[in-house]
Symmetry: C2
Subunit: 346 residues, 2 copies
DNA sequence: TTGAAAGCGGTACCAC
DNA sequence: GTGGTACCGCTTTCAA
């Protein structure tokens, strides 16, 4: 479909000018006489001239589009990240194209294919749970596509990274739970090969260590699809509560895992926080409206989007200058609410 | 940025063929000899040939992209609609480009501009609260851009519409509240000029009428930004609870309004459902986890996306055939929970 | 069956 | 300052 009204050639013919003159006039080129410029601009305005961005992109080899790859759009955390990205991108005149992986590496590759065939100027990516390395990204990186990782970063490419303080968040949350007297804190999280998972585990372990306690490995559960499938979270919980010593607290690694755990506990008649405490990395918009109100580690999603987009666009626009890969770690915020506060000490 | 490896011309030169032959071979054109075709395909595969979609689009005047315009991405209802759209679009090989209006007509126009300059093949749009007519869409429609309205439809264009049964949903919810003994049901909703608002009001009024009661007009509150701004919802509630006869129930028209109302009631110490009942059009993923569990009218968001995308792509692919504008009204589902069930009758 | 060439809409180099 | 023209990568008509 092409909704083009008139082209540069039409203007040139109508005004008896050459294509190049019209093109220059339209771009406000310095050396075009005032009268000609005005004539062109007036005609263009009057006939509602609109440049064909496809043609421009083809010629200029840039599209003023940035591609975003993430696992899923309907997600309170990622939704806000997207808004952060858009706020920066649109202010700089970039269109944002979002693609979803649904946690599949296959889809991730397809998305990259689609995006790059359309000549995006840069890429923001939060990898899928299935992604173990950056092999599929290397060809693009080598050809000069600016890439910035956000949220779920993946090592191996000398480029910018923007993420939350996963280690710190997990540490604080675990410490809080231990302080509240919970001792058997189950951690439901993503596959170990993800850097994010490792970082959170590190914080979790550090809190135990600093409390002089040892981690029970059977309380660590990894969901292959990062909680995207409710059944995998339920299975993890089934296993946890079948243990000789079941957990007295659940630390979930994402919105989806937190919610599925919540529903599970509710359904199986466990009282929160008396029987089991529940807390998670979560950006629900109203965690205080849950019953009980939910303790969360909140990430600055909007800021993450802004920073990632900012770094990406900077790289795009200083294309040929070398740069130092930056790693931005955004602070997270522990919000303690009723779901982890027991009145009596165990 | 262009991540192109090799072009058709490269292949042609390497194989000593003409551009056109290569182009045809790549497309599997019928009249290309088997050996030539295989040679081209093999070479292309080996050298990782990837077509330049921009060039194809420029030439073919179609881009296999569809544009989506909606108010905001981080929204549980619209997020699911997007997924519905993507499920159909990607299965048919279309890339989806989503743009947000944030409830501003100005942004809506800009988004349309961006999308059409990039030659989208079709448009899915849920208009902003500020949008009163389709004037800004007419030029595109007239030039042949297939358009399908979804969710917030806007009359005036002979095209497909996909929406929820707003009238029925509001009717059922209001009837339910009346049945529960609530008499002064406040309705917090969007501006009256939106068709959706009118339809819901119609259902609301019908329920009152059928119950033999008359509607108190001072219980109807319209939020100019559709609830996007928390303050406007709070102001509406302030006004409602300053009335000589304050409401005993709140019927909110969207997720955002429902949530803001919930927070307001909580903050001002009103008990739900004893002091005030609360219910709304809402697609929260876990309304049962709220305290109290929330009565909702749930829309089939995913289906809405699927149907809208399906109709659009059908129109795109049968471009020149005439068509009958269809209006699809999807059923909604009333889910009664604790927030509207009082134990004692007033 | 294959090739030559024009053209999609714009840009930019090179002349004048 | 302005014009002529080649070219971005691909498609397609027309000829051979």
């Amino acid at each position: 479909m092409n909704i083009q009204s008139i082209t540069i050639k039409d203007i040139a013919k109508a005004l008896n000018l050459s294509y190049s003159t019209v093109s220059r006039a339209l771009k406000g080129s310095y050396q075009i006489s005032e009268p000609v410029r005005e004539k062109v601009l007036a005609y263009a305005r009057e006939h509602n001239y609109r440049p064909n961005l496809l043609a421009q992109s083809l010629k200029n080899k840039n599209s003023r589009c940035i591609g975003v790859v993430l696992c899923t759009i309907p997600n309170s955390f990622l939704g806000e990240v997207i808004n952060g990205i858009e706020s920066i991108a649109s202010s700089k005149g970039y269109l944002v194209i979002i693609t979803q992986t649904n946690e599949s590496l296959e889809n991730e590759k397809k998305a990259l294919d689609q995006l790059t065939m359309r000549a995006i100027d840069g890429l923001l990516i939060s990898v899928s749970t299935e992604t173990r390395d950056v092999k599929h990204l290397e060809p693009y990186h080598e050809r000069g596509l600016p890439i910035v990782f956000f949220d779920r970063i993946c090592a191996g490419l000398p480029t910018h990274l923007v993420q939350s303080d996963n280690e710190g968040g997990a540490f604080e949350l675990t410490k809080h739970l231990l302080d509240q007297g919970y001792k058997r804190i189950a951690h439901i999280t993503s596959p170990t090969h993800l850097a994010m998972t490792q970082e959170r585990l590190k914080g979790y372990r550090r809190a135990y260590r600093e409390a002089g306690l040892s981690v029970k490995e059977d309380l660590l559960k990894h969901c292959a699809h990062g909680g995207a499938i409710v059944a995998e979270v339920e299975q993890a919980l089934d296993e946890l509560f079948s243990l000789p010593e079941p957990p007295d607290a659940i630390l979930a690694a994402s919105d989806r895992m937190t919610q599925s755990s919540f529903q599970y506990l509710r359904r199986t008649g466990k009282n929160i926080p008396e029987d089991v405490a529940l807390a998670g990395f979560s950006n629900f918009s109203a965690p205080e409206l849950f019953s009980p109100a939910l303790t969360t580690v909140v990430q600055d999603a909007f800021e993450m989007g802004k920073r990632a987009a900012g770094l990406l666009i900077e790289r795009i626009e200083k294309k040929h200058k070398p740069f130092d890969p930056e790693k931005i770690v955004l602070p997270v915020q522990l919000q303690v609410r009723a779901s982890t506060q027991q009145t009596i000490t165990k």
